[in-house]
Amino acid sequence: MDVLGLYNYWIVILLMMMGFYVVIASGHLVKKLIGLNLFQASVFILYISMGTVEGGAAPILRSGVDVFSNPLPHVLILTAIVVGVATTALGLALVVRIKEAYGSAEEEDIHRQDDSL
């Protein structure tokens, strides 16, 4: 079955939609960031899967091994992971500042305080 053979792509789609849903549906800012992380992680898996070559070994030059996985997507995704870490760190720092300024990290509370101004 071809559909089940591509199970890693199904995981990607599932994770992506879960992450996306959490970003949209949850009111707590930290939970939104968790959703965002999940969303990004799904893309990491997408890249890592595409680098795989069936029957390929890890891309280390050795005698007797001819088929290697493609290391380039893995390297690319290392960069993207770094970007993801930076985004999360900045997001969390903003949440801390928001909590200091509003006394809450719930979206509804924040909107209510802004509207009452």
Partner: protein, 492 residues
């Protein structure tokens, strides 16, 4: 010797200056370094522009690794035009920032402020100059992350929530772009733009390519603030420090327009994006609805900064409208409006920055009678506003004229109506400010004086540019034409 390395220096110079700014924590030195770095970047972009003006294309292989394996920096008429807009606006906005930021940002954070500024500049220049799609994603994130920081430094606590909202939407946009790039790599095995274009042309249509196009368009649409993906923009522009609003409003969305052009016309073939895929009509409808709806929303805003932010979404609509016409006249109009909009929105936000410096508020009620108290500031605002509406002898007129000509050429009369209607809506929301400033008498107790010269100088520099490029269109139209020819030529 140094001349051949200019493409990489364009990006590396502000990148290296950024951490140095952090070391020079004392604000005046940090500002001076940021200013000098921007000025140097401007000089480099002028030299680059002169080299590609004749239609040449500069290609630079980073670290000596030849494309398509290494990262290629590629300068042609299209991005040389963008580079010069970004660096020139950065210089003018930094001239303004010295006084404005000293008031709006805590002194211990000013070193960090200029560091973030230079990083943002690096990112924007990098997006424009790179010929490698993954490198483009990295620069996109550099510019985005630093702009979240810049916005979050606003005085109002709502700057923090605006920055957070932008962070969430911007990250989703950037991740969509990343997915699109991944899908393209999956089918072609390359990341170099020119190589991608050549391979995609051979490969032809497939569902993966279609999905990649969809993800890239939506992702760039988010960064572009294309209606209805613009929700992050009004708050971000309203609560950011004045100088940051000037810088971002005049450059960030422009660079996103550039990304859209590069992907739709060069990486993908125009016959695919606009022929096989119905993207042209799709973008035209979104742009038209965006122009009319956000211009209408502008009319009901009480905060002038927010009013102009909504107007920015409408102006982006004009650019996308030009793109959706898929003709060399349409692209010329889009690129021309990109340049002119940077000038007019720059002027308007600079004038508002002067108002905020003196009044501490940019609410409509606060500026009553300001035409008498701050005549130079409000006169500059008026010049920018006339340009925004598109009155003859201002830059805004030129680009709207070209846009209407391009729409007529394709026979899309409804779009002509949209452009004219959008201009009329602009008259209404701008009139509310003008009426308040000139026809109301100032409150008695208010003793406001004209903004200091250090703020007026950059404001009038851009206001003057609005008039100059409204009369002498040789540079702007010439560049836009050449860039449009390059984009359509490679796709035709």
């Amino acid at each position: 010797m140094i001349r051949e390395h200019l493409p990489v220096l364009q990006v590396v110079l502000p990148l290296v200056a950024a951490p140095l700014c952090l070391l020079l924590a004392r604000s005046v030195w940090a500002w001076l370094l940021a200013f000098m770095a921007s000025l140097a970047a401007l000089v480099i972009s002028i030299v680059l522009l002169r080299e590609v003006y004749t239609g040449e294309v500069l290609s630079y292989a980073i670290g000596g690794w030849a494309a398509p394996w290494g990262i290629e920096y590629r300068v042609d008429a299209v991005n040389a035009f963008i580079l010069i807009i970004v660096t020139a606006i950065s210089v003018v906005a930094l001239m303004f920032a010295k006084t404005s930021v000293a008031q709006e940002v805590a002194s211990d954070k000013q070193g960090l402020f200029y560091t973030a500024w230079l990083l943002c500049l690096t990112g924007l220049l990098g997006i424009a100059i790179t010929g490698d799609v993954f490198n483009l994603f990295v620069f996109l994130e550099i510019s985005s992350l630093s702009s979240y920081v810049l916005i979050g430094l606003g005085q109002d606590r709502r700057a923090l929530t605006a920055s957070f909202q932008y962070l969430v939407m911007g990250t989703i946009g950037a991740t969509f772009i990343l997915i699109g790039i991944g899908l393209l790599y999956m089918v072609t095995g390359t990341l170099n733009m020119m190589d991608l274009a050549a391979r995609l042309a051979v490969l032809g249509d497939s569902r993966t390519v279609q999905t990649a196009l969809a993800f890239l368009t939506v992702g760039i649409g988010l960064k572009l603030a294309l209606f209805p993906l613009h929700l992050w923009l009004p708050n971000a522009y309203t609560y950011a420090p004045s100088a940051v609003t000037v810088f971002l409003a005049a450059t960030a969305t422009k660079v996103a327009v550039y990304m859209l052009l590069r992907f739709l016309f060069q990486v993908f073939d125009a016959s695919f994006t606009f022929g096989a895929m119905p993207l042209g009509g799709f973008l035209a409808v979104l742009a038209a609805v965006g122009i009319l709806s956000t211009s209408t929303v502008s009319i009901f805003q009480d905060n002038v900064k927010r009013m102009l932010a909504y107007s920015s979404v409408a102006q982006v609509g004009y650019m996308v409208l030009g793109i959706s016409l898929v003709s060399s006249a349409g692209l010329t109009a889009a690129l021309l409006h990109l340049f002119n909009h940077a000038l007019m929105k720059g002027t308007l936000f600079l004038a508002l920055g002067c108002v905020a410096y003196r009044l501490g508020s940019v609410r409509l009620g606060a500026i009553a009678g300001l035409g008498q108290r701050m005549p130079w500031t409000m006169a500059a605002f008026l010049v920018g506003a006339l340009s925004l509406i598109g009155i003859p002898l201002t830059a805004g007129f030129v680009s709207k004229w070209y846009l209407i000509l391009a729409a007529v050429e394709r026979g899309w009369w409804p779009l002509v109506v949209v452009v004219v209607a959008g201009s009329h809506l602009a008259i209404i929301y701008v009139w509310r400010v003008v009426e308040m400033a000139y026809l109301r008498s100032p409150p008695e107790k208010l003793s406001v004086t004209e903004a200091p010269l250090s703020l007026l100088l950059p404001t009038w520099l851009l206001a003057g540019a609005n008039v100059y490029f409204g009369i002498d269109t040789r540079f702007s139209v010439g560049m836009a034409r050449q860039a449009a020819a390059l984009l359509t030529g490679s796709s035709g």
